[in-house]
């Protein structure tokens, strides 16, 4: 069936900011969908609040709305654009939930809008626990004993009926299992049920029989409107049931099911789609299997493209999102070609002749107060995928891709923590899943524990454990050679080590030599990787798409001819984590787009399956490989690259810059030496003096003791941070010497031998980010961003506004001058980000980073110029003059960026902003009115700022003078103000009426009561951060987050929000406008 001709204009809903449970996989799916539908001549209206996405590039859709993802805003867009259909299945749970809301509010009906991909009925059947259960029962599937509850008492009754512990609690309609959990006793049960009811959009929780320890599987299904269906990929979890699949190590394809079991699961998966009523598109179906009987239970299905679809796409080469988009507009699978083979149709099931392993990436180090136990609520912030010829190879590659300092499955000098734990602790670490469990498994194997015992404790299948045991014992075989020379004398053994996935770093550690020596010995022994192709067909047909992975087989794919083009390697950013996410992938993609257009052959290397950069048609050649020196250099040499770009992938490739250069790769753009120079304090001090810019007093320390004396010299408060880290890891502001002792030790640990930087902290200064581009001669400012939050809050966590709000033209001009000077001094070729602070009319230098910054996509969207693309061209020798970008763009509108935080996933963690970055994502909003732009950004970030109601005010002493004005404005707008006694008295003296409540520890009623009773709609609470935070305040903020009450933690933020609330009351409803229309005003 060919494409439908009764629809022309399609509204595509994106997934919004990156949050835990919804990462950049939906940028990947959105981009594929936009391209696929545009190719077919459909008019695309796209809405997404996330500026760091490639999908929100103005070229991809006809109209791109970077607006908050709320039902009201979508309504405005629909009213304005009048699309024929909405495609809600490619923007994650966010898009699906919005589509349901539009349906329930009658908006779909009013505008005669069709949901394509999945109907509202199908979505409801999949998402509503009761309907899902009934539907599954109607097709004869086995389900866990369970019930759904809308209140705590209903929940208790269900628990009694099931009659066994533990019980699983899952809230309906949420992302990544927010608010769910496993309860082992009645006490835990009521806590989790309450949280789940709060988190659920429809105030519903499902309580069910525990399947803890069962095997977990997943099938990715595609279906067309003729009912043609295929399984794109099957996935098996290493971590058994009980760990959210997003937090589990998983492998593809399924390894431990016989054909009989596999095909029965396949049949049932197809039946599930049919019964739910998924008319077209991709869905995933999750299964649990009791390991000793094979009893199989359906867990859930998502009638949409998901995180696992992205993984499945990358694992198999089958472009699920693209095909899902095509199927939604009427095509059938047999009508669509398989892009990888170029000759066969898409209605086939990919055959894999390799094993894919996905390992989640956690950032518990950012949230020391969070519970590191893995459960049904997802906690990982990113993931890596690795392809190997077998599980062992791919696991080793995945573990070294994680960038947690590990070189593989142990054998790298970082095992002491695990190996030294006592037997009882080890047993505990095996049975309670955490991010490091796999290394505890290794420790247990090393200790000689039987596989059966480990299987018993962990529930991990013996299939996996035997492989892990083989690795653990082969380590000894390598080590027993005693020296690299001895290993090299047994080439078969040497090769076997590489076949088993051992990295040069591991071999070097085991044989007490260096990585470089191992690499040299391999060359001498002729042990080099070959490359297999991800070809969807296990070699049965020739593949046209060059998508590769390394292995140590006899032979591999030949190097494909460059056709006369120069090959440039672009290094991606690896797994998403806090501080390094989609923004850098965006930059890598733009480098690829621009270079390809300019006639270069782009070789992309990355290990993150969620990304657009790892889509097979972003680059000319895609290598899905770990971003380590060893893996990169093999590809660099194989492809005969003439340069490698390291400044776009964030800290990952930057940290490799020097060693890549030393190994013979040509780093193009700003040189590694100049990049390092920017981190050199002494050099920098001199440079700042030469340029004539002030710097906060500063010093360097290598030990905690040195830190104390430096701080004493420059005076408190001080900002302490390790050098060479991204996202402010280990960075704190310290007001007193007694606190510095503790933090300096932490910083010294994080810095891993590199120096600790100590700066005098500028209190209440305005912070700025300046993004610019330089070709080595000409430097152009991209934008000056003014932070809403004062200095001391990490730039990635702060809201930013451009053009700047409070800076005089004179100061701005001075800033521009400085930017040019820095670019010249550091020989910048490419992008540069400068962080400045302005206090009392003086400009202070904070840091200069000659590389892509997190704000590049935001700035590019705001000014309508692809800075990363231009920068890539500069690196290959083009001049900005010739590229037509020589003047800073003046914006006739306001662009605001706001950060989005994962606090709801980490109950008990303090939400106060500090120099250590904690946000996972960001949103952007544009408007002519500054207040509205800021308010929209707050809404887009999920903060439900009220227009009326009760506000609670509590500020630290320094902020007290500022809040009188704030309180007056709040009162003027009709808000009722609650405050603690001290603040209340202060305001009373200023003539503002408030209602006084007790401090939490002093009595009741206090704020906790107000939160519980729903009496407060907005909390403005500023406080000393970090160690000084009062325990009860932390508790209060945590409760407010759980209750969904907006909290503003800086006075500056409160003023900005208030301005927005006031302007909204004045203007009435929000106006929406597409990016393309905004950009039309630029010239």
């Amino acid at each position: 069936m060919p494409k439908r001709t009764d629809i022309q204009k399609i509204l595509l809903i994106g997934s919004g900011p990156i949050v835990i449970g919804q990462g950049c996989e939906f940028d990947y799916s959105g981009v594929q969908a936009c391209k696929a539908l545009k190719q077919d001549g459909f008019e695309i209206v796209l809405v997404n609040s996330n500026p760091a996405t490639v999908m929100t590039d103005p070229e991809l859709a006809d109209r791109t709305y970077i607006e908050p993802l709320t039902c009201d805003i979508l309504h405005e867009i629909i009213r304005r654009e009048r699309p024929d259909a909405i495609l809600p299945t490619l923007g994650g749970q966010t898009a699906l939930n919005l589509a349901m809301e539009l349906d329930e509010k009658g908006i779909l009906k009013r505008y005669n809008l069709e949901l394509i991909g999945a109907s509202a009925e199908a979505i409801r059947r999949a998402e509503n626990r009761q309907m899902f259960k009934e539907t599954m029962q109607s097709i004869g599937l086995d389900l866990p004993r369970s019930g759904s509850a809308h209140s705590e008492s209903e929940a208790q009754a269900i628990a009694k009926v099931i009659g066994s512990w533990p019980l699983i609690i899952r809230p309906g309609f949420t992302l990544g299992g927010t608010g769910g959990g496993i309860a082992h006793d009645p006490e835990e049960f009521s806590v989790i049920v309450r949280r789940g009811l709060e988190a659920s959009l429809n105030h519903e929780v499902l309580i069910e029989e525990s399947l803890l320890g069962w095997k977990e599987f997943e099938m990715e299904v595609m279906r067309d409107r003729k009912g043609g269906s295929v399984i794109v990929c099957s996935i098996e979890n290493l971590d058994p049931m009980g760990v959210h699949t997003g937090d589990s190590i998983t492998v593809a394809p399924i390894q431990t099911l016989s054909d009989r079991e596999y095909q029965a699961m396949r049949d049932d998966s197809l039946k599930v789609l049919a019964a739910i009523g998924v008319e077209t598109g991709g869905s995933n179906v999750q299964w649990a299997v009791e390991p000793s009987t094979g009893r199989r239970i359906i867990i859930e299905m998502n009638p949409r493209v998901s995180r696992s679809s992205a993984l499945a796409s990358k694992a198999t080469g089958f472009p699920i999102a693209k095909i899902a988009a095509k199927l939604a507009v009427g095509y059938t699978l047999d009508e669509l070609r398989n892009d990888i083979t170029g000759s066969t149709p898409s209605c086939f099931e990919p055959a894999l002749d390799y094993v894919v392993t996905k390992v989640p990436r956690f950032t518990f180090e950012k949230f020391p107060a969070a519970d590191p136990t893995l459960g049904t609520q997802m906690k990982s912030v990113g993931e890596v995928m690795a392809i190997g010829r077998d599980f062992k190879q791919s696991l080793q590659k995945a573990l070294r891709s994680l960038e947690t300092g590990r070189a593989g499955f142990g054998a790298d000098g970082h095992d002491a923590k695990f190996e030294e734990s006592g037997d009882t602790d080890l047993e505990h670490a095996l049975s309670v899943p955490t991010a490091d469990r796999i290394f505890y498994v290794r420790a247990a194997l090393k200790r000689g524990w039987e596989i059966d015992r480990i299987a018993e404790l962990s529930g991990i299948d013996r299939y996996f454990l035997r492989h892990l045991a083989e690795l653990a014992s082969f380590e000894t075989v390598i080590a027993s050679c005693g020296s690299l020379d001895a290993l090299a004398r047994d080439p078969a053994l040497f090769r076997q080590a590489k076949i088993l996935g051992y990295s040069d770093r591991q071999i070097a550690f085991l044989l007490n030599t260096t990585e470089a020596e191992v690499a040299r010995a391999e060359v001498d022994a002729g042990i080099m990787p070959v490359y297999g192709a991800v070809d969807t067909c296990a070699g049965e047909f020739e593949a046209v798409t060059p998508y590769y992975y390394s292995c140590y087989d006899d032979s591999g794919e030949p190097v494909r001819d460059h056709e006369g083009r120069k090959a440039i390697m672009v290094l991606g950013g690896g797994p998403n984590r806090i501080g390094q996410g989609i923004e850098f992938d965006y930059c890598c993609c733009h480098a690829a787009f621009a270079l390809r257009k300019a006639g270069y052959e782009v070789v992309m290397v990355n290990s993150n399956p969620e990304t657009v950069s790892t889509d097979y048609d972003t680059s000319d050649k895609l290598y899905f490989e770990p971003l380590t020196l060893e893996d990169i250099m093999h590809i660099y040499r194989r492809e005969g690259c003439s340069g490698v770009i390291v400044q776009f992938g964030g800290q990952t490739p930057l940290n490799l810059a020097q060693s890549l250069q030393a190994a013979g790769a040509k780093v193009i753009g700003t040189s590694p030496d100049d990049i390092d120079l920017a981190e050199d304090r002494d050099y920098f001090k001199k440079l700042a003096e030469k340029i004539g810019i002030r710097q906060p007093k500063s010093g360097i320390a290598h030990t905690a003791a040195e830190a104390l004396s430096v701080a004493h010299e420059i005076g408190y408060p001080v900002l302490v941070r390790p050098s060479f880290v991204l996202g402010g890891r280990g960075m704190v502001i310290v007001h007193q010497e007694k606190h510095l002792r503790k933090f300096a030790e932490e910083a010294a640990r994080v810095a891993e031998g590199k120096p600790i930087l100590i700066d005098r902290f500028l209190e209440n200064a305005v912070e700025l980010d300046v993004d610019c581009i330089s070709d080595g001669e000409t430097t152009v400012i991209g934008a000056i961003l003014e932070h809403v939050e004062p200095a001391g809050c990490h730039s990635g966590d702060s809201a930013s506004i451009t053009p700047p709000v409070t800076l005089s033209a004179k100061i701005q001009d001075k800033i521009r001058e400085y930017a040019h000077e820095f670019a010249r001094a550091l020989h910048v070729n490419g992008l540069m980000n400068i962080q400045l602070a302005v206090k009392d009319g003086e400009i202070y230098m904070i840091e200069v980073n000659p590389r892509a910054s997190r704000t590049i996509p935001f700035v590019s969207k705001a000014i309508g110029v692809h800075l990363a693309g231009l920068a890539a061209l500069c690196m290959t020798g083009s001049k900005l003059r010739d590229l037509g970008f020589t003047r800073e763009v003046k914006l006739p509108y306001i662009a605001v960026k706001e950060a989005v935080f994962p606090f709801i996933k980490f109950p008990g963690v303090d939400i106060v902003l500090t120099p250590e970055m904690k946000s996972t994502g960001e949103v952007m909003c544009l408007d002519r009115d500054r207040g509205i732009a800021y308010l929209k950004s707050q809404i887009a970030a999920g903060s439900k700022l009220p227009k009326t109601g009760n506000v609670f005010l509590s500020v630290k002493d320094q902020d007290k003078p500022g809040i009188i004005e704030l309180a007056r404005e709040l009162a003027g707008l009709g808000f009722t103000i609650y405050a603690t006694l001290g603040t209340s008295t202060l305001l009373y003296d200023a003539g503002i009426r408030t209602r006084a409540v007790f401090r939490i520890s002093r009595g009741r009623p206090n704020l906790l009561d107000l939160i519980r009773d729903g009496e407060v709609q907005w909390i403005i609470n500023t406080t000393e951060s970090g160690a000084d935070a009062m325990l009860d305040e932390v508790k209060m903020r945590s409760r407010a987050v759980a209750a969904g009450i907006p909290i503003t933690t800086t006075v500056e933020g409160a003023f900005a929000a208030l301005e927005g609330v006031r302007d909204q009351l004045e203007f009435g409803r929000f106006e929406v406008c597409s990016l393309q229309e905004y950009h039309r005003h630029l010239r």
Partner: protein, 368 residues
Amino acid sequence: MDFNWEAKRRRAAYLALADGTVFHGYGFGAANDAVGEAVFNTGMTGYQEIVTDPSYAGQFVTLTAPEIGNYGCSPEDMESRGVFLNALVVHELNPASNWRAREELADFLLRHGKPGIAGIDTRALTLHLREKGSQKAYLHVDGTVLDETEAAARAAAWEGLDGQDYASRVTTSEPYEWSREGKYHVVVYDFGVKYNILRCLAGHDMRVTVVPAKTPARDVLARRPDGVFLSNGPADPSAVGYAIENIRLLLGKVPLMGICLGHQLLGLACGAKCGRLKFGHHGCNHPVQDVRTGCVAISSQNHNFALADLPDCLELTHINLNDNTVEGIRHRKFPAFSVQYHPEAAPGPHDAQELFADFQQLMEHSGK
């Protein structure tokens, strides 16, 4: 079974192709050398079904799925009375971990006297076979010293499968009843039948009798069947002239259904041509389209030969969407149809099992 590095090293073995290409690995199963035709199968599950499928008689099956043995072997997964392929070639052999496993794959092969080789770069071998076509090969696993060129020469000297009647080697020696109940009586010609075909027929209300490949048509008719089924089987359809003769005698007298070799034989009996594919279809993921409805099924496939040049009396019903080759035919005048692929699956998807219901319908409309 010992999987450590030293143990594997002690069982060093190799596979030599007739063109002189050699692949090194280590042996498992029976330690006796073998000769056969090297083919590959891209299915990701179902190794036990494959090794017990009589259609693989005379062949070395290379499994492209890299890890084999993971779920062991189970009596329920037998597709015939024994192991018919000549050798199994895998990348990595693992011990079993599955509640249904009763035996390790290596022990299973050993018990059936068949050799296997693991540690092979199966992708390289597969690409080689894709480029050069199926190859005669020699497997050296017996631990003695054998020169690689000598092994390749032995492979080249082997008679091969072309023109060979393998059906008569693998067929049942005596007729037997598979199931005693059912509305329709079906006689199955066993050219190397897979048990799952018999299970599927029985599951569609058929009483199933299996007869040897060379059973004359009149003996079959004497059993007064409601339908006759032409089974799958190994090797070259042109070498089983007796079967083609018998089919001609049955055509029009009784409803016929054929699968794989049975399909090729029906086609040949009706005047179609049958040729060798370059490397055959061996996998579980081939899209087959019913050209009458446009519907697509994902199918299990295992054949080196395919029908072509259909005569007017045959209607083309199914095609393979990967290469547009013939996958199904129907006689325009007589109640007879056949498919090249395996609706009985085992291994593979169950998408096409309604074909057995079609056979039931055909018998229903033809008199009962």
